[in-house]
């Protein structure tokens, strides 16, 4: 319980250089009159799994979009591998984004090109690989998510779960240092969801990939998260390991941690 915050925590003391993958410092964001994030601060250590929990509409996806630089904060800083992504633009912003992979909640596949070309797209844009090498690597990424036979199919012909897996393959295309994942198991059957969790844990363990995951799936969060954070009404109300969260003195956090919801 000692490390479990029950209110907004003060920002952690700056970690040693090179050990932090992402740091949010006092980030606030409003859309119109609705305040979505209110002074959010947290650190994500490089090579760790950081899971953001919370009820629907509490700003979890918006937090991920801040880290990717898709949404700019009204106040505060978003440091990605040492760079304040919220202050960057143009080629500098692209340079930082190449270190990140993003799996969107609804996969967001480009529907005018095939599944394989979706995965190949980042490689075509940012590498000098030959066409055959790109195709081989895209197939390799699709194989990792069990979609090697779907290379030529159009996204519209895939099921929701398959689209999600194809989106993950695209997010992995450039072997990113930091992977942002919005609801990895939503729309997947339990077996496939487990396989995806195992794949992500494997990336973290063997490749040192930093995972930042938004999920409602508590078993999945326990498996992938070294640190879990609970976002409620735009604020981090608790943060710690799964065991610490289980023992939180915040009733809502305990209720969330014991829920059996798997999607």
């Amino acid at each position: 319980m000692a490390h479990v915050a029950t209110a907004v925590r003060e920002p952690a003391a700056p970690a040693r250089a090179g050990t932090l993958a992402v740091r949010l410092e006092h980030v606030s964001k409003s859309f119109g009159s609705r305040r979505v994030l209110n002074d959010v601060t947290f650190d994500v250590a490089a090579g760790s799994g950081f899971v953001i929990l919370g009820r629907s509409g509490t700003g979890k996806s918006v937090t991920l979009k801040h880290i990717m630089g898709l949404v700019r904060p009204d106040g505060g800083k978003v440091l990605v591998d040492g760079d304040d992504i919220s202050a960057l633009d143009g080629p500098e912003l692209s340079r930082v984004r190449k270190k990140l992979g993003f799996l969107f909640q609804n996969a967001a596949l480009f529907d005018s090109i095939s599944v394989g070309e979706n995965v190949a797209f980042p490689m075509r844009r940012h590498t000098d690989l030959s066409d055959s090498d790109i195709r081989a690597r895209a197939t390799e990424k699709l194989t990792a998510v069990g979609l090697e036979k779907e290379y030529e199919k159009m996204p519209a012909t895939l099921s929701g779960g398959m689209r999600k897996r194809a989106g993950l393959a695209r997010a992995l295309a450039l072997d990113p240092k930091i992977l942002l994942i919005d609801e990895p198991s939503a729309g997947l059957d339990p077996i496939t969801a487990d396989e995806i969790d195992d794949l992500l844990v494997g990336l973290k363990r063997s490749g040192g990939t930093t995972l930042i995951i938004v999920t409602h799936n508590i078993p999945s969060a326990r498996k992938m998260g070294d640190t879990l954070a609970m976002l409620h009404e735009g604020q981090i109300v608790a943060q710690g390991t799964a065991e610490e969260m289980d023992r939180s003195d915040n009733e809502m956090v305990r209720a969330f941690m014991t829920s059996q919801h798997a999607g």
Partner: protein, 261 residues
């Protein structure tokens, strides 16, 4: 009541300001590297070449109708021989460019508004940005360049198709030969008739691409928003083309006095 009206006016002015900044950004970035040649070529094909059948068929129909109207007027004065030249000048100076602009604001404007709108609501634009691709350059600038290239070419096609339509009407009415028809048609057309009026359509292309891209890029409210963006893209592009045409014709008369003669 006054409050609501004031809010509506403020909101409209804010949107006009935003759209103007969007268009200025597009105009500036057309000339800045990196250039998306491959995507631009694809857009020239999608927006330009695939519009050719619509323009060719419409142009011929316009030519036939113009020829019939011109014949009805000139017959009274025994000036039927002037029909090909009169038709050609009417087409090249005004009817061709404006009709092509309006037709393409329908086809291209609706297409861009709906496509970018759908990409926005399904987060595909965010996905492009997440892939470290500048979505504005990739989606907007390429379409602007494609439209600016395609409009003059399609307008020339419309002019030619209109003349062919006029020939069909003439040869049906009095058996005029193709050689005589086209000799007469081109007899009075000068540089000042064709070039400024056709270059004017580059402005129409810019208007169509930036207006519909702006509306598509800023779509919200799901599929309903996509439909609204598509409809507004056509309406706004058409209005802006008609209004800008007045100013451009005035400018052409000022720079090329012979074009008004």
């Amino acid at each position: 009541m006054l409050d609501r009206a004031g809010h509506a006016v403020t909101s409209l002015l804010a949107q006009i300001g935003e759209a103007s900044l969007f268009a200025m950004k597009a105009a500036r970035e057309v000339f800045l590297p990196p250039f998306e040649f491959r995507e631009t070529l694809r857009q020239v094909y999608e927006l330009g070449l695939r519009s050719a059948p619509l323009i060719a068929v419409s142009g011929m129909a316009v030519g036939v109708v113009l020829s019939m109207h011109t014949r009805a007027s000139l017959e009274r004065f025994g000036a039927e021989s002037m029909i090909p030249a009169g038709l050609a000048i009417a087409l090249v100076r005004e009817t061709g460019p404006l009709t092509a602009g309006l037709l393409l604001s329908g086809r291209i404007g609706a297409g861009i508004g709906a496509e970018l709108g759908a990409m926005r609501v399904t987060e595909q634009i965010d996905a492009l940005e997440a892939s470290a691709v500048d979505a504005f350059r990739y989606l907007v600038v390429t379409r602007v360049v494609a439209c600016v290239i395609a409009l003059p070419i399609l307008t020339t096609l419309m002019n030619f198709a209109g003349m062919v339509g006029g020939f069909i009407a003439e040869t049906s009415a009095n058996g005029m030969s193709m050689g005589l028809y086209f000799t007469r048609a081109f007899s009075l057309i000068e540089f000042a008739d064709y070039v400024p009026a056709t270059i004017k359509t580059m402005v129409f292309g810019f208007i169509i691409a930036t207006t519909s891209s702006y509306l598509g890029f800023n779509t919200s409210s799901g599929t309903e928003g996509v439909g609204r963006a598509s409809t507004r893209a056509v309406v706004m592009s058409s209005i802006l083309i008609i209004v800008s045409n007045v100013l451009l014709v005035r400018l052409i008369f000022f720079v090329f006095p012979k074009a008004g003669g």
